[in-house]
């Protein structure tokens, strides 16, 4: 457990020291939101109805950009082999990287949420439920992206292969998260939206478990 936290912490520190990583992603998303707002706007109602979709599509793009960073530095510095040489089973590498990806996604997601609220007039009365949706959705997304990023880490064309594999698998996450956000924005009581919350939970449990079991096999050799 300590190892998992250390690995995630180290990656986060490196990410923030690097400066080029997360900041440029956030600015890229801000520009993207701007363009999308221009495409949908300026009518306030149109923007409002597009907001949940925009939020989650933007986050999905951010996720595919950030996914490469999970193992990018390890490959550049050749430290992946050192990680693999540490004693014990290898699931902890997955959990460490998952935690790192999850933290990145949540941070970017929070920034996105604020930006969407501003640019797309997303009503924020239920902000706590938005955050819960964001946490669950990011975890599901990170579970898959971390797995594939590790699997394709040493491959040359991984920047294009990663989204190709990632997007079809995360459709349930995006769908559920968009529906939840939309329902909350329209003021539908949370009890009527609990199916979607349950779907996200089931997705997370299934995929985190399966990915953790399969991950060591993907890294061997």
């Amino acid at each position: 457990m300590r190892r998992v936290l250390w690995l995630a912490w180290r990656d986060l520190v490196l990410e923030f020291r690097g400066r080029t990583g997360i900041l440029s992603v956030v600015f890229f998303l801000a520009v993207m939101l701007f363009i999308l707002a221009m495409a949908f706007g300026p009518n306030q109602q149109d923007l409002q109805s597009a907001a949940p979709g925009v939020l989650w599509v933007a986050l999905a793009f951010a996720g595919s950009l950030l996914a490469g960073r999970a193992f990018g530095l390890e490959i550049e510095d050749g430290t992946l082999d050192d990680l693999l040489l540490t004693a014990g089973s290898r699931e902890w590498i997955y959990f460490g990287k998952l935690l790192f990806q999850f933290a990145l996604l949540v941070m970017v997601g929070l920034a996105l949420l604020v930006l969407t609220a501003g640019l797309f007039y997303l009503p924020m009365q239920h902000w706590n439920w938005y955050v819960i949706t964001l946490l669950l959705g990011s975890l599901g997304y990170a579970a898959i992206s971390t797995f594939y990023a590790g699997m394709l880490a040493r491959l040359r064309g991984r920047e294009i292969l990663l989204p190709l594999l990632l997007f079809p698998l995360v459709i349930p996450v995006v769908l559920a998260a968009v529906r939840l956000t939309q329902g909350l924005a329209e003021g539908i009581p949370i009890s009527e939206l609990s199916d979607w919350l349950r779907l996200l939970l089931v997705f997370n449990i299934v995929y985190v478990t399966v990915c953790a079991i399969l991950f060591p096999a993907m890294l061997e050799g």
Binding site: F147, L155, F167, P172, L175, Y207, C211, M218
Partner: protein, 230 residues
């Protein structure tokens, strides 16, 4: 010894050819039976596409289950034969999935009035199609055979698990497909026997074709692997 064994697995055997031949013959008979079957009460002659659409879709999902099985078998046993069969299953399954989508769309146009409807089964099939396209592309991108086999197995397993989840998510999202022809949970059959029999003949024929094609593809893959080793 090694050479003898690889030759044995890569020989184009009579069994494969007879399965393919029987499947082709069955498909021809099934086609004739489907064309002479009485027209549907509600949809008329249009409904005859049912005899292709339903068996093809079943085979596509059969392929998905088979690929899952062989991928797990590969990760557990690490025999390259399992990987070759899994890859063959996905490739042949991709064809059947594509046929499912095309016949589904052709059927949707006269009955629902649109080519595409965001319906759970249709959407799930499209998602699975996309996942298998990714599978084939990634296989083509990795040169190391062991790494390729492991990555492919990972994709196939995650992709198969995704089927029920995305089915449920799209189902809650919205729904308009016909009821299933055979309710799998109760075993109740919802179509007339005159229509059911040609469909089952076609199903048997396509299953044979599927098995034959997978065998053929695995044999080709085994020959390729043997050549790379030399």
């Amino acid at each position: 010894m090694q050479l003898a064994r690889s030759e044995q697995t890569s020989r184009l055997d009579g069994l494969t050819m007879s399965i393919l031949g029987l499947g082709g013959l069955g498909a021809a008979v099934g086609f004739f039976m489907a064309m002479t079957a009485p027209p549907d009460v509600g949809q008329g002659f249009v409904a005859r596409i049912f005899h292709v659409h339903v068996p093809v879709a079943w085979i596509a999902y059969l392929a998905s289950f088979t690929a899952l099985g062989y991928s797990i078998a590969y990760l557990v046993r690490r025999k390259s034969r399992h990987d070759r069969v899994a890859a063959a299953t996905v490739e042949v399954g991709l064809i059947f999935m594509g046929l499912t989508l095309v016949t589904g769309m052709l059927w949707a146009r006269p009955t629902w009035g649109v080519y595409w409807e965001w319906e759970p089964r249709l959407t799930t099939s499209a998602i699975l199609f996309a996942i298998y396209v990714g599978y084939v592309v990634v296989r083509g991108a990795i040169e190391d055979p062991e790494l390729r086999a492991k990555a492919a197995a990972g994709i196939a397993i995650l992709g198969s698990i995704n089927v029920p989840i995305s089915y449920m998510s799209v189902r809650w999202w919205r729904s308009i497909h016909q009821t299933q022809s055979i309710d799998l949970s109760t075993g109740r059959i919802m179509v007339d026997t005159a229509i059911l029999i040609p469909m089952l003949v076609n199903l048997a024929a396509f299953t044979l074709l599927f098995v034959g094609l997978v065998r053929l593809r695995s044999i080709i893959a085994a020959r390729q692997a043997a050549r790379e080793e030399v």
